[in-house]
Symmetry: C2
Subunit: 199 residues, 2 copies
């Protein structure tokens, strides 16, 4: 015997969460034990609801609590600019900046042959259909500045090159608040190459 | 809008857990989102079960899945030695050592006037009744070597001093694997005072 069975099982289940080891799981389980019933019930319900009530927006692929996501339902968003992201998390990160008022298209991943992800696994067909149907004027390829992200952006750029649409990419450069001295050389090189007039 | 409502709510509920901030909660919530349904359901069930199926052992105060805990039900345990601990967690820590084969008594806390916890708030009355009923020969006061733990042990020692029972306390000294150079002086002093013959 280590813990009584229900507690032992909770510790086990908590350990399946990322970055939760035996010690953290035990600490969390004991917290649950002493937490008010309503709070634990709310957590359990929230866990189940996320699985049962969330779906994928049929238009942009974002997480959604209905057929269309909150962004696609919002008529104030500018449908002429489409921002292509790998995941719904990236979309949410961009939304937090409040810099962008257009619509999104979630690919559902990045091209990565080593992981067995080719263009066919991503929502690229749906993107082409959207371009035909909605004909936006600009496409922002907001995939990560990583090998897989660059490969995906390049691939998209190539297959879209015939179309009369402006294709852009997020700026590369120094992170705000960072220190030039500690920037890696690739980033610093890109920041130099991408230098702009002071306005 | 930040996240769709069910996701936002899960992030909120997860944040009520100790050491889980907004970033961790978001990471966990997205993990839940992509985890298999059965796994999430098992976690939700385990959370609810811990609250509904666990009770307190009527005899020793340990966490239990029945009226008596697994330890009190186990006839192989030696009822002549009783180990007094502050919490069920302390009991479980001691059980992991496999050093002790007696029974426990969980006080449910430590005497701490600043926190408003006096002897009346602890299961001390139940301990006295057990001593009368079960008449063990030794009582190990395994409360923490802290101010509150020492105060509780001293208090118990005083109210039990008339009884024909051996009262012991856990040894204080250097932790195994530690470095003498880095030991704090109080611990080192106790280790010195408590030195033993090599056997």
């Amino acid at each position: 015997m280590r813990f009584p069975e229900p507690l032992e099982r909770l510790v086990e289940e908590l350990q399946r969460l990322p970055t939760v080891g035996p010690k953290t799981a035990t600490r969390l389980a004991f917290h649950v034990l002493s937490a008010p019933n309503v709070q634990v019930e709310a957590l359990a319900r929230a866990l189940l609801d996320v699985k049962s009530r969330l779906e994928t927006c049929v238009r942009c692929g974002n997480l959604s609590d209905g057929q269309l996501c909150a962004l696609c339902r919002d008529s104030r968003r500018d449908a002429s600019v489409l921002c292509v992201v790998a995941t719904a998390r990236d979309l949410m990160a961009l939304e937090k900046t409040r810099e962008f008022n257009g619509l999104y298209h979630v690919l559902g991943g990045l091209i990565s042959p080593l992981d067995g992800v080719g263009p066919g696994e991503l929502r690229i067909g749906a993107l082409l259909e959207r371009l035909d149907r909605e004909s936006p004027t600009e496409l922002v390829l907001a995939t990560n500045p990583t090998v897989a992200g660059e490969a995906t952006a390049l691939y998209l750029h190539r297959i879209l090159s015939g179309r009369p649409i402006r294709i852009t990419r997020l700026a590369l450069g120094l992170p705000v608040g960072s220190d030039l001295e500690y920037a890696d050389e690739v980033t610093l090189g890109r920041a130099f190459a991408g230098r702009r007039e002071i306005f």
